[in-house]
Symmetry: D2
Subunit: 280 residues, 4 copies
């Protein structure tokens, strides 16, 4: 069987859009095997994810046909045949990186890790075990601007589809974020919007919460305020010290980032203002 | 705003079905705001749930147009305007019944409870608090056939859409099940297929499981083997006696049956052989 | 078998406390069948919950023996033989109240509901179905002080062990809270500390969260800042409107308050500053 | 601060046991900071896990004092100072092994992996990246007895505390199990006791379940019937193929085995007939 054709659409809503789109798909002799569609009527926006079987003879022609009929400013993604490429940014904590590199190693990630960049060297030996390049770019004794410029150049050398902040502990400048608009994914060590900012587990312990969580989100200029992709939680109790919470938190951080990457890599996520549409 | 039009389709798959269907919908000036479609290619079956906004001027004409174009044997359900009616069967345990009657009382069930039938009288006073008729039909000193015939007659008097076994503890005969084919929903007190049959909590305790569950399913001739609608679980531990497991189990039974009813009442469930398609 | 003897202790920590306590228990011919002990070394505090089997011949003597040997300011609770009494405060929403009244009706609550007080009359008919007194005390055209004074008098007439705010939507004054110190339990419609204050589901929708939650906590002077008893969450997604979130939220609110009441009624909760020790 | 002293006790129940034990602990100048005790009255068995702070001057004397006073046949474990050693058995699937080796590499496992033994060579390169010896012992063209004898000899060379079956797909003989009684931990790819035996995900797909799970348990002679340590689940739906269920299942298998290892390594698990006491 040939690979399924995937069509992602994000455009202004209009009457008869599903008919228009499905007619074009039928005219290309593709059979729709799974379709998810969502309209936000307040925003007048249309979102769809369509999986088709059948031989796609001419991808460009399908895209052109869709583009011609859909409302202006439609974003259409047909059948991404190339594996997505990721660059991972880290500081010192290994748990999220290790999860990604193991999946990459056994080819269960669905994407390729092009490189890892760290502002400390701690994770270089581990990364290199897997044959992945590790670039150490220190922030020490540099202006933030110079430091970020070095990282941007290094990332750009790989032309990645996404930049993954896998417990990267430096705040990004608006210029950095703008350069990779919609492409940066962060794992935040709390159940946002609870405990924004530093030391969330210390805050959680002081507040005596009974559940902790983690949040994977796209990065925008507002720290910890970008569109949320997915979240999850773990129960804690009065016997947990701050250190125990950090340990439990790492498990949920790892699981949440992994789930978010799966959604993004499988083209299940569309950004809609400060929210996301996730066609699970 | 007028009520949304809901279209449920279950038919043989064919190339271009989504186009056919959405063209018909567009020709009736309806806008598709949420669509879920699923094709089982092994079984060559097509399932869809479509929510439309706009004024549906002629429901019969829409149904006729769909029927004319879809493959033979298509099941099409358009815009059920009447509230569904439920008859609830009980024995002695109150927890599932109480949940249903409270929702009915405050009109958050999305359906109407027409009557409750019990093979014991225990739950009559509670049911009658809510102004719902309670029919006591005892199984004692009757043949199973006579007993079930009495129940069938009582149920038929209400012409319900669904019969809910809310901890009804008598096994139904194939004749009874056939009479209400696809309309009987049961809550089973275990995480099927574990612990089929009687005393599942006793079995679970003996086995030393760490999680218990419950399963809501359509009833077929095979006891505990009908299509599963939804399931859920709760953690237990070594301190739980059988009685504690029963108590914890009642909470999950109640929650699972409530969820299953919501799915069925909102027309989100399609039966597909011994499985269900649930468009959550 | 006689009823188990339950001993709850909250005191300053000291070397050998478990030995002291268990010697006294043994001298009263009781067998410890389940013991949970927790020491907060930073705070130098000792907490224990001990379940004993055997005939407790002289409860007062056991209490006296414990009091004599334990550090000053010890709180000791032995074998509460009387069922706890609850007064429930409501406004207009029924879901938490209904859950409590159904459990009370079938004697699965482990406590007794003495009365319900509402600042609106909406829930009077439902409450009275269960034979529970409903007192309507309106806040309209009264000073907050007068209004609360009326409620306090009505509550005091029942001498309840706990006051349950089951979606009671008025903010309590410090004087009110002080009058019932450590006895008021609230269900907050968010996963605290996220979305403190009003309209949490509106806030949650705008923020695009993928999980919503609820929190049961003791009430202190700081609104929404008292010791958390338990929390739970439900998944939501991009298809949820604010109204859908409110509906999903009610399910989790009901479940969380029910769980918190169970913990409190079974004497599993000790307050420790702004946190709780919960011996689940 | 010195390392806490951990005391695990498993013996016949008797009146005053907690007093006896805590007196001995106090006489050694240790302060009990966390205690969990459980009595199974039907079985007349006593279980406790006690964490103490303070300088343990003479471990042997503490053990001797406890042994002298406790009922015969008591199992007492005081303060295991040596890190536990694990040998991991694998076949071809990497997900559980990788999780264990990453934790071992970053010293977050709380134990040491001494070696990995595989009946295929597939996982040798991965294992060796981490500097852990990999022994390939093929079952091909050998009697089961000879094959297992080779493995036993290899395991015995490491004198491990536990043997972890991390997706090891050969059934063990009673002789093998007897040789490592109470020391073998398996991850079973289903929510036991559902879907015992082979191809559980195929069975789960056919049955149309809405939740799948995994179970970590001690291995006894009855295949898939040993004492359960922990279990967990993941939701699935009608869109999951058998392959999707296998993929989702691997995530839960990995998480469950990891949790079980943590419990065992931290000495939180006591075997009680075919059940476990887990002092979480």
């Amino acid at each position: 069987m040939t690979k399924p054709t995937l069509i992602l659409i994000d455009c202004t809503d209009a009457l008869g859009l599903v008919a228009l789109i499905s007619n074009i798909i039928a005219s290309h002799k593709l059979n729709i095997v799974a379709m998810r569609e969502f309209v936000d009527e307040d925003a007048n926006k249309f979102f769809a994810r369509i999986v088709c079987h059948g031989d796609l003879l001419d991808q460009q022609s399908l895209e052109k046909d869709l583009q011609a009929l859909l409302p202006s400013a439609a974003t259409i993604l047909v059948n991404p045949t190339q594996k997505k490429r990721l660059v991972v940014l880290v500081t010192k904590e290994h748990h999220c990186l290790a999860d990604i590199l193991v999946r990459d190693n056994f080819e269960t990630l669905g994407a390729e890790v092009s490189a890892v960049i760290g502002n400390y060297q701690d994770l270089a030996p581990f990364t290199e075990k897997f044959g992945i390049p590790f670039h150490h770019i220190s922030h020490i004794e540099k202006s933030k601007e110079d430091f970020e410029q070095e990282i941007i150049q290094q990332i750009d050398a790989y032309q990645p589809d996404y930049i993954i902040l896998a417990k990267y502990m430096r705040i990004l400048s608006p210029a950095f974020v703008a350069h990779f608009k919609g492409k940066i994914i962060n794992i935040h060590h709390s159940f946002l919007p609870a405990f924004i900012g530093a030391n969330p587990y210390k805050q959680a312990h002081t507040r005596g919460v009974k559940i902790i969580g983690a949040t994977a989100h796209f990065v925008t200029d507002d720290l910890d305020e970008g569109p949320i992709i997915t979240q999850d939680v773990r129960r804690v109790n009065h016997t947990f010290t701050v250190k125990d919470m950090v340990t439990a938190g790492k498990e949920v951080e790892k699981a949440v980032l992994s789930k978010a990457l799966q959604f993004v890599i499988e083209d299940r996520v569309l950004i809609h203002g400060n929210r996301t549409i996730v066609f699970e």
